[in-house]
């Protein structure tokens, strides 16, 4: 095996001459964040479509009454 065949620090692998280490300091960029956001939206879609539970409706009524009095 030639001395130039592997960068220093890379672990030699049995049956595998193509292992590549991750670059440090990576972060998901705006494009990926937006993509994850769209997938989250899809995951939570049923929540948006279902009616708001009664206890929230009651609280809104209570708030409306309180505002009406003041």
């Amino acid at each position: 095996m030639g001395s130039q065949s592997k960068p220093p620090g890379q672990q030699p692998m049995e049956n595998d001459d193509r292992e590549a280490e991750a670059k440090p300091g990576a972060r998901v960029d705006a494009n990926v964040r937006a993509h994850l956001g769209r997938k989250l939206k899809t995951a939570y879609q049923s929540l948006i479509e279902e009616p708001v539970p009664d206890r929230f409706v009651k609280l809104l009524d209570e708030l409306r009454n309180k505002e009406g009095k003041s």
Binding site: D16, A20, R27, R33, S46, R55
Partner: protein, 268 residues
């Protein structure tokens, strides 16, 4: 307009945000209830000088920051759509808020700044931190099954660039199976048509009979995947691919794959 009328149309979205932020519907709803109770207690808790949606989310985050409702996500029954909840939980709260406000709720940077009551440059920093934390969290050991050297090199550069490690590049069905026996990947990127006439699809099916791992197929022949007999949720990217698409789909596959982390949590 009354506060009640102004905030009512935004409540479904606030419940979604609360759910994503807290990790469970029960916990999220408890905070939404608390914010409405805060308005009833003191209508001035609602900032009337701001657009209603911004004022509502701002009040919500003030409540979320100030009280702990003691509803641990693990106590609540987990519903099906929350595979990302575990991964979201792991992001530091402030960056998580900024990320969800923008990516999920669609607030602009300046709107998110108003919601969080911070200067826009701090929102930018929070978003960058969220991006770094997500990258670290989903960092994976990837097996590439691809017979074309140039494409394999492209893929390798692309995935290491975003923080993943390449365990190996397999060019044939046999090499792929041998690679997995050697070291278990946390994600597989697979071409369908391999060098020696073998099939990446068959290689993946053999791999999936021994381990559970998300798989992304990258192929010029997407129709060959439509066999209707894949049990595992898979992802498909058509060649020629855009690097941005590959990055996005890899992140999606890993971000929404919480099996490993879940089992770890259950064991704890």
């Amino acid at each position: 307009m009354s506060i009640a009328t102004a905030v009512a149309p935004h409540l479904p979205y606030l419940r979604r945000f609360a759910r994503a932020l807290t990790g469970s519907q029960a916990s999220g709803d408890a905070y939404v209830v608390a914010v409405l109770e805060a308005f009833i207690e003191d209508p001035n808790a609602f900032a009337r000088d701001l657009p209603a949606r911004i004022a509502l989310y701002r009040a919500f985050l003030k409540v979320w920051d100030s009280i702990s409702l003691n509803m641990d996500a693990s106590d609540a029954p987990t519903e099906d759509a929350d595979s990302a909840d575990c991964n979201l939980d792991a992001i530091t709260p402030r960056p998580r808020q900024a990320f969800l406000l923008m990516a999920l709720e669609g607030f602009s940077l300046s709107e998110a700044a108003q919601v969080l009551d911070l200067p826009p440059q701090e929102i930018k920093a929070l978003i960058d931190q969220a991006g770094a934390e997500i990258a670290e969290q989903i960092a994976a050991d990837i097996l590439i099954i691809e017979d074309e050297p140039l494409i394999a090199m492209d893929l390798e550069a692309l995935v290491t660039d975003v923080g993943h490690r390449v365990l190996g590049v397999a060019r044939t069905h046999a090499e792929a199976v041998a690679a997995v026996a050697n070291r278990q990947p946390s994600l597989v990127l697979a071409d369908i048509q391999l060098a020696d006439g073998s099939s990446g699809l068959e290689a993946v099916n053999e791999i999936l009979s021994t381990i559970t791992v998300p798989v992304i197929f990258i192929t010029a022949y997407p129709e060959r995947l439509l066999t209707g007999q894949k049990p595992e949720p898979t992802f498909l990217i058509t060649k020629p691919f855009q690097p941005e698409t590959v990055k996005a789909v890899i992140s999606q596959a890993l971000f929404f794959d919480t099996r490993a982390k879940r089992s770890g949590k259950e064991a704890a």
